[in-house]
């Protein structure tokens, strides 16, 4: 006997993601899901973003890592609320983990919530967390050909940060080819060259982000 189910496999994840999104929009919180390989500069980018926007917006961070809370400690040392999620080996965050982390934060006191996903370019792209935008960081030493190997993450990102841009002279990185292949995957995505730990490019990225935060606040009537 055949039974039609027509049901999403990630049903549970999608339900929690929809609930998260509803909660975030109700409070006018803009939620960023930051994706990159290990070592591309996710935490440095978050610290640079905090420095650029903390006078204008109230920021909180959710740190996703397989183990340890070193990243959350780094963020807290800057006086910003941070929650660490340990996935215990899992390669991505899921929406119910985000929900539990959000429950420990004062959601009404946040304008920008940054989620640092597990360092992985594959699995996180299939999981909706309820975020408003997925943003991808590629660092120059990883090479300009990475979008050929991990196309989905470039296709889904709403902005791409090209980090460690200051190391361009020592790596054989073809920026024209990189921009061309990203365009073929995601024609309208903005690319922000940046050196997160040094400063250049951070202002342009922060302005783009501020524009998105304002939109979310306006929609919530804040």
């Amino acid at each position: 006997m055949k039974i039609d189910l027509s049901k999403p496999i990630l049903d549970r994840n999608e339900r929690f993601a929809a609930e998260n999104r509803e909660l975030f929009s109700e409070h006018g919180v803009f939620v960023l899901d930051l994706l990159a390989s290990p070592g591309a500069g996710k935490t440095s980018t978050i610290l640079a973003t905090i420095a650029a926007l903390r006078d204008r917006y109230r920021i909180a961070v959710i740190e996703g890592d397989i183990a340890s809370d070193v990243d959350a400690q780094k963020i807290k040392a800057h006086g910003v609320p941070a929650v660490q999620i340990n996935t215990g080996g899992a390669c991505h965050l899921e929406s119910d983990m985000i929900r539990r982390a959000v429950d420990t934060l004062e959601i009404a006191e946040i304008d920008l919530l940054i989620i640092e996903n597990v360092g992985n370019l594959v699995c996180p792209t299939d999981f909706d967390l309820g975020e408003n935008a997925k943003v991808m960081i590629l660092s120059v030493p990883e090479g300009h050909d990475k979008p050929y190997k991990y196309p989905n993450i470039f296709a889904r990102a709403e902005a791409v940060i090209l980090n460690k841009y200051d190391t361009m002279p020592v790596f054989d990185f073809d920026e024209d080819e990189f921009r061309e292949v990203v365009r073929r995957l995601n024609a309208t995505v903005p690319i922000f060259p940046m050196a997160a730990t040094k400063g250049p490019g951070v202002a342009e990225w922060a302005e783009w982000l501020a524009g998105r935060i304002e939109k979310q606040r306006a929609a919530a009537g804040r």
Binding site: M1, K2, I3, D4, L5, S6, K7, P8, I9, L10, D11, R12, A90, C91, H92, V122, C123, T125, D126, F127, P151, N152, A155, R184, L185, A187, T188
Partner: protein, 124 residues
């Protein structure tokens, strides 16, 4: 490698449904997987073999239907299929296209045996 989690989602939904119908076994599970997801078929079959023993789906066949990417042009309304690269309207060359299909991760159907069906099958 998140296929383990995907397959455990498939099994939970399938086994729950089958158990509610008092099925004695699941013969087949059909799923639809979009070409634009990061799912690898071999990893699905591997996880399926690892996770099914001892469940109603032990010995069942997993059938994976791949769904190609398909978008609709926001400017002129043309619907067209595509891969991961160069999602551009073939009619008006616009890049403003909305994805219609290609990110599916869906359980389509299951085929089960009910107690009386099995007896009928074994009879003369």
């Amino acid at each position: 490698m998140h296929e383990m989690g995907i397959v455990s989602g498939i099994l939970t939904a399938s086994v729950d449904t089958a158990a509610r119908k008092d099925a004695i076994r699941i013969n087949e599970i059909r799923i639809r997987v979009g070409e634009l997801t990061e799912i690898v078929d071999d990893a699905l079959y591997f996880a399926f073999e690892a996770l099914t023993p001892g469940t109603l789906a032990e010995g069942a066949t997993l059938v994976v239907e791949r769904v190609p990417g398909r978008s609709k042009c926001v400017q002129c309304g043309t619907s067209f299929s595509h891969g991961r690269f160069d999602v551009e309207c073939p009619e008006c060359n616009s890049y403003f296209c909305e994805l219609v299909e290609g990110r599916e991760l869906e359980i389509e159907s299951i085929d089960i045996d009910l107690p009386d069906e099995a007896e009928a099958g074994e009879g003369p």
